[in-house]
């Protein structure tokens, strides 16, 4: 009975001793992984910031383009208005010229 108890205790001791060594390695691995993740996070943040900056830039460009388009439409409308007025004036003059 004593022998059995001793054997079990030895197995447990060995298991504990061996288990303690694994935890240290894991810690190092976790630390290494943490560094990697940290670096990745930094990169992701940088990327996100860059993307945001790029998006902001694109938005600014789009806004500028929209403003330019609006301006162009306004100019075209103004041109059309002027052309329509010219056409109307010409027509009025023509009608007047058709009298005796």
């Amino acid at each position: 009975m004593k022998r059995i108890f001793l054997g079990v205790s030895l197995v447990l001791f060995l298991a504990l001793a061996l288990g303690g060594c694994a935890t240290t390695g894991d810690l190092e691995q976790v630390q290494a992984q943490g560094k990697v993740i940290d670096a990745k996070a930094d990169q992701a943040i940088q990327d996100a910031q860059a993307a945001k900056a790029s998006a902001n830039e694109a938005q600014a460009k789009a806004d500028a383009a929209a403003a330019r388009a609006e301006e162009a439409v306004k100019k075209a409308e103004a041109r059309e208005q002027v052309a329509a007025e010219k056409e109307e004036r010409a027509q009025a003059l023509f009608q007047k010229s058709m009298k005796k």
């Binding site: 052309a83 010219k86 056409e87 023509f94 009608q95 058709m98 009298k99």
Partner: protein, 453 residues
């Protein structure tokens, strides 16, 4: 270098077609181009301004087959003629198309909103509003509807009555054409125009002294034929300003195209009754279809005419026991295109009357000729303009004066120069410059011929 100015309906030059070499070189491209062209050509007139009847592709007919003036009058029917379309060619103007198809410029313009009167786009389809609702007046002698600016001459015997219809120019707001019953009291060919004091005064104010009488000739505004009416001082006559037909441009008289007044003159005996009405709302029926025609002048007309129109529509509703589509009526009223629009079928399945497409004629009759430039001739500078469209429009307007003043556009640096001429001598050039000043407020400059030519 002269820019491309409107020219007569040109035929393709020899060799302008696709050569056999081209076909063998790029058959795919050519086939595709041909397909696109075909689609464009077919869709052009199909997707017009919403006036055409039916949705099937338009049949293309020779333009000579299209009746413009004389139509049989069917008992119980008050709609004559049909709608047609024609494709604009480069250099056309609406006044030229109007004259060729015996339409007034007002009618053609109203039926084609958005089409430039002087510079319509080549390939554009224009509706020829050659369907008319007869005015609500006795069908005897001559009936003139001021609102539609159209004259109807009832002829023929009782068995086969016909109506000949022509566009007219009518009086202005200041000097309107009177309405009422009158008759033709005398007829004169090559009439002398005795200048009314009011017109002489208008001209005098602008520094243009008119003689008391203008003898027959190109400067006589009565043209070659005149029918004097029983209402003193009012005439139905020709014109030396054909582009004015379909405008409010007279002092109360009624003007017709020279070719139309000749036919009217020949077919109208003295004592023919003349009834002048002003009906901007016309309701008519033909072959089980009810049409509504509304003219832009309706805005200036009293509500009585509108009430009369609704009365007629209600009577039809009562007779058929079916209600009209009010939205459709409101649309016709709002658009006021002067074209009879089908609004109701009194019998099922009668709806569509096919619009046809007519081929563009080789030459639009009555279109102003454009003489070639001559170095030894006199000219009148009319304007320097930056805008090509404006320059072309001005030249076209000058060209359509009566009598014609030939005018063209020449390129000038980055701009455009409008020049009238050629004129054979200084007197002719001075005369043209005077007319440009009086009629179009243009301060022209006379250009002498080049020395040594």
């Amino acid at each position: 270098m002269p820019i491309d100015f409107p020219t007569r309906g040109r035929k393709p030059s020899p060799g302008a077609g696709i050569s056999s070499v081209g076909l063998s070189a790029r058959p795919g491209t050519i086939l595709l181009s041909a397909l696109f062209l075909a689609v464009f050509l077919l869709s052009g007139c199909a997707a017009m301004n919403g006036l055409r009847d039916g949705s099937a592709p338009l049949e293309v007919h020779p333009e000579t087959s299209l009746e413009r003036n004389v139509f049989p009058v069917v008992k119980g029917g008050d709609v004559v003629g049909r709608l047609a379309v024609v494709r604009v060619e480069k250099g056309d103007t609406l006044p030229d198309i109007a004259r060729h198809f015996s339409l007034g410029v007002n009618a053609l313009g109203a039926a084609n909103p958005g089409v430039d009167m002087w510079l319509p786009k080549a390939g554009e389809c224009v509706t020829l509003p050659l369907r008319f609702i007869l005015p609500d007046a006795p069908r005897k002698g001559i009936v003139i509807n001021l609102a539609s600016m159209r004259l109807f001459h009832y002829r023929g015997d009782k068995r086969s009555p016909v109506v000949a219809t022509y566009p007219v120019g009518v009086g202005t707001d200041e000097r309107p054409t009177p309405t009422g019953q009158m008759r033709v009291v005398r007829k004169v060919t090559r009439p002398t125009w005795y200048v009314p004091a009011s017109i002489a005064e208008d001209h005098r104010k602008k520094g243009d002294i008119l003689p008391p009488a203008v003898l027959p000739g190109p400067l006589n505004p009565l043209g070659e034929h005149a029918l004097y009416l029983s209402r003193s001082t009012y005439l139905i006559h020709g014109t030396n300003k054909p582009a004015s037909i379909g405008l409010n441009a007279t002092n109360g008289c009624l003007r017709l195209y020279p070719e139309d007044v000749k036919r009217l003159y020949e077919g109208t005996p003295v004592n023919t009754p003349v009834c002048i009405v002003d009906q901007p709302y016309l309701v008519g029926q033909r072959n089980g279809i009810v049409y509504l025609e509304v003219h832009a002048s309706a805005e200036d007309t009293d509500a009585g005419e509108l009430k009369k129109m609704y009365g007629k529509l209600k009577a039809i509703e009562k007779k058929t026991g079916r209600a009209f589509d009010r939205e459709k009526i409101d649309k016709v009223l709002a658009e006021a295109r002067g074209v009879p629009v089908p609004i109701f079928e009194t019998e099922q399945g009668r709806w569509v009357e096919q619009t046809i497409e007519v081929r563009h004629p080789d030459k639009l009759s009555g279109r102003p000729e454009m003489p070639e430039l001559k170095t030894g001739a006199w000219y009148v500078w009319a304007a320097d303009l930056d805008d090509r469209t404006e320059a072309l429009r001005l030249a076209a307007i000058i060209n359509h004066q009566g009598p014609q003043i030939p005018a063209r556009v020449l390129s000038k640096g980055s701009g455009y120069r409008v020049v009238a001429g050629p004129f054979k001598d200084a007197g002719e050039a001075r005369g043209a410059a005077g007319r440009l000043k009086f009629d179009l407020e243009i301060d022209g400059v006379i250009i002498e011929p080049s020395l040594g030519k």
